[in-house]
Symmetry: C2
């Protein structure tokens, strides 16, 4: 899909068919995740791709009520920050760098016909801690978000509200 | 440009021609900024588009050494969080929501032939405070990033390093 149209038409998709995501497609999604800018080119992220059904169900239990569709997703990608790589003078750039990676994956998936929903993890620390425990993550790895992925089994109407005039200022506040 | 290719080929562009960005193009960029997901659909961002040369020069002074190209940019967009709209139980989701908006603009610009560089502001608080002061921002508005924009006057080689195997894990850490 053309890139601007792809950005404007992306919607959160929460119902999926039973079709799995093949390895090449998953690789392309992860490549897109790594293609964004990072602060001082730190590349301070890590990715955990999950397609094991049992693990998807456990992951759902970690990430609060909005994650209820995860057991029925084809896969998930947990996007994490890696604090050992983060810009030492302002480590919290990891949040931004991991968000860029997550949005790249969401957009790439949409372009490849795969539905996604961005399930927020950080800064809700009870979710962060549950995922850290489930996956036995090293201390420097912090989960930012879980992306649920699957081929869409729902259609969203094409009347999304986007532009909000009051949010824009020109050359002064 | 096709959406996945657009994600993979984006590079930071720091040299620009003198061509300005017209109002329709700026509108489309801002629309893309508002098309991303936000936590509980809070739409907790605000955008300040700048094309005044004097203001671009002052903005450069606020945002540290990496912002040196701003006086020669065609325009800039300052992407801010709006804390008055942020999810009350976890306000720091504004950082993520504003990052999504920024990356959408960066990708849309690339697709429209416009070069960008993401100039990090938050969490470097001295930059945040200088921009707040320069633009007399209301208390609830926090600048996350400045996007420098302009038609490219440099080419980047097509050999970008992207995929890093060690960053990916499957079904366990």
């Amino acid at each position: 899909m053309e890139a601007v149209e792809n950005i404007l038409k992306r919607r959160s998709i929460r119902k999926y068919t039973t079709e799995k995501i093949d390895a090449d497609t998953m690789h392309k999604l992860l490549e897109c995740g790594m293609a964004g800018p990072t602060c001082v080119n730190a590349r301070d992220w890590a990715f955990i791709a999950v397609d094991d059904n049992e693990l998807l169900a456990k992951l759902a239990e970690c990430n609060g009520r909005p994650a209820g569709m995860l057991p029925d997703a084809a896969a998930a990608i947990i996007v994490c920050g890696d604090l050992s790589r983060a810009f030492p003078r302002a480590k919290d750039y990891w949040i931004i760098d991991a968000s860029i990676a997550t949005q790249n994956i969401v957009l790439a998936a949409n372009a490849m016909g795969i539905g996604t929903v961005w399930l927020g993890t950080y800064p809700q620390m009870e979710r962060v801690e549950k995922i850290e425990k489930l996956l036995e993550l090293p201390e420097e790895i912090v989960p930012l978000a879980v992306i649920a992925l699957g081929y869409p089994a729902e259609e969203k109407p094409d009347d999304k509200f986007i532009y909000e005039e009051s949010r824009v200022h020109f050359n002064k506040w």
